[in-house]
């Protein structure tokens, strides 16, 4: 097992190098570069840069070198953990990310908790009462859930609950003006979470519910469930103690996938709700051609996805002794 984990960890290195090369090549392919974005913003602030200024900047950022030299320069620093400075804000990339990552983790974490807390029980009920009215209703709901664009759901929630009813705020993580005291502060933060979390959760429920239902159906057909029933155990004990535990195992395989969902979900939802997290940063940086930040975001997410997949494989092997890696 240890050898297996080490091999998988080592294997992540070439994959991440591949990811960085592809991403670098894509970005270099783009028309316009960080300098053109800087030129545009200096024009907005009223002064026109001369051609000499632009050439100097290009030289300073190393944009005149061949692409592979540029990649080598970037990679030789990145390998030591130095991702350079953001061309948009001139801060080191890590500082930019450090202020934003926690916001995304909070949003994604809360959403994930709600998603699992709602989806798993619904999946269980759906499986236990297979082909009942409730099962058909949940199945239909599930189809709707996987078919609704997440950004549309977000927009609709904003329209209904922020614009029309005015119950919740629709932008940012906190209000501009909050009354003194602990309670108003907690309430303000809480209210800002409601709509973004709802947007991620409502869409997320569908997939997990379906998965849990399928896993549960698989388990309740097993012999040991029949044995448990034959022993005269109550249905509740059979379902929750014998069946659910085993039906949770396949959920673990979703762990790597969870990171993908959370990264994607945060890009969409953060941009709708102006949530100052990584997803909003990704779109901002792409529009501003802020390559160092984009490279860091892509590599960070790829690492998370790879680690998530590895963790799920490891945990899977621990909880299900039938699985052996060599």
């Amino acid at each position: 097992m240890t050898a297996y984990i080490i091999r998988r960890l080592l294997w992540m290195i070439p994959i991440l190098i591949g990811v960085s090369i592809i991403c670098f090549a894509l970005l270099k392919q783009a028309p316009g570069d960080p300098v053109s974005a800087i030129v545009a913003s200096s024009r907005d602030s009223g002064s026109q840069m001369t051609q000499a200024d632009r050439d100097n900047l290009r030289e300073q950022y190393g944009l005149n070198n061949p692409v592979w030299v540029q990649y080598y320069d970037w990679a030789s620093l990145a390998i030591r953990g130095n991702f350079g400075d953001s061309t948009r804000s001139n801060q080191p990339v890590w500082d930019v990310i450090k202020t934003r990552l926690p916001n995304t983790v909070k949003l994604a974490g809360v959403s994930l908790l709600f998603t699992l807390a709602i989806a798993l029980p619904l999946g269980i009920i759906s499986a236990v009462k297979q082909y009942s009215k409730l099962d058909y209703f949940l199945t239909f709901f599930n189809f709707v859930g996987i078919s609704i664009p997440q950004f549309w759901l977000g927009l609709m929630l904003v329209y209904i609950f922020a614009v029309e009813l005015g119950w919740f705020p629709s932008t940012g993580m906190q209000g501009a003006y909050v009354e003194d005291g602990t309670w108003p502060l907690i309430k303000d933060r809480f209210m800002h979470y409601v709509l973004p979390v709802a947007s991620i959760t409502l869409v997320g429920i569908a997939g997990y519910m379906r998965f849990q239902r399928a896993a549960m159906l698989e388990v309740i057909r097993q012999d040991y469930i029949r044995t448990a029933r034959a022993k005269g155990l109550s249905e509740r004990v059979v379902i929750f103690k014998h069946a659910w535990r085993n039906a949770l195992i396949p959920i673990i395989t979703l762990m790597g996938y969870i990171f993908v969902i959370l990264v994607e979900g945060s890009v969409v939802v953060e941009n709708i709700f102006s949530w100052p997290g990584m997803g909003q940063l990704a779109v901002l940086s792409l529009n501003q051609r802020d390559y160092p930040v984009i490279m860091a975001i892509v590599l960070l997410s790829a690492t998370l996805i790879l680690i998530g997949t590895l963790l799920s494989d490891i945990v899977y092997a621990i909880v299900d002794p039938r699985i052996r890696y060599d």
């Binding site: 297979q130 609704i148 950004f151």
Partner: protein
Amino acid sequence: MSAQTVSPRLADQIRVAEEPHRGQWQMFWRRFRRHKLAVVSAGILIFIFAVAALAPIVAPYDPNKTDTQLARFGEPASPSLAHPFGSDQLGRDQLSRIIYGARVSLVVGFLATGVAIIFGTIVGSIAGYAGKWADMLIMRLADVLLAFPPLLFLMAALASVNKTIVSIALVIAIISWMNVARLVRGEFLVLRQREYTEAARAVGASAPSIIFRELLPNALGPIIVAASLGIPGTILTESTLSFLGFGLQPPTASWGNMLQNSFSMMRDFGAWWMIVFPGFMIALTVLSFNFLGDGLRDALDPRTRPD
């Protein structure tokens, strides 16, 4: 008690077994017809297709024609008899834009999925049949692409190409072929060991003949299922990209980019029609494709009623 309590699943199997022998298509149609939602969805999709194909005839207005009489002071006009879906802030007719936008969603959905499925099948076949270094090379490339968060890859890639329907579809295909390739490869590894493949090899059949006549036909079921899941997924992806500003650029209407500006209009003017209609069309189309796919799966493979 016993006859009535046969589970629907078992009843289905009995019915299938009792069916007199018919042509494959007839059997397919009989089974498909039982999935009511899939039949309704097929009808809805045919309607959407027809409207999209006949857009210049059925659209009441030019989708890009602005009208400042309608949208006075840049305020979107609410739905009326003349403009049932209202207008945007430039006075462009929303219904006409939605009709033209359907073309984008459908073409990108089919093109991207088609390219991804065909490419994935080809490289998956090569990996599964040839093995060795070809397998190694293809699967490692797949590993690298699977490590990307798809949306980030697409945004970065689309920042660097001229955004047309074709280029968007191809970029989506580049990040979507891996699962099909893995699937086909897995099927091939199993099918390669089967007796009929051995037999074909024993009588001296060539590699292409084995791939096309023995292996591919038997792997077709999962490939069709992957395709039926791929189209709605791709339509969602395209609309998300457009919404974030990485899809087709205005003035060309797509359902996603119609929603891009609607947020501020909805907040400032309460222009609900600018978000409700385009988004509803995306959801309806994707939902119909999903139901259709579900029906196809049931009809093509009666053994696996999806749970």
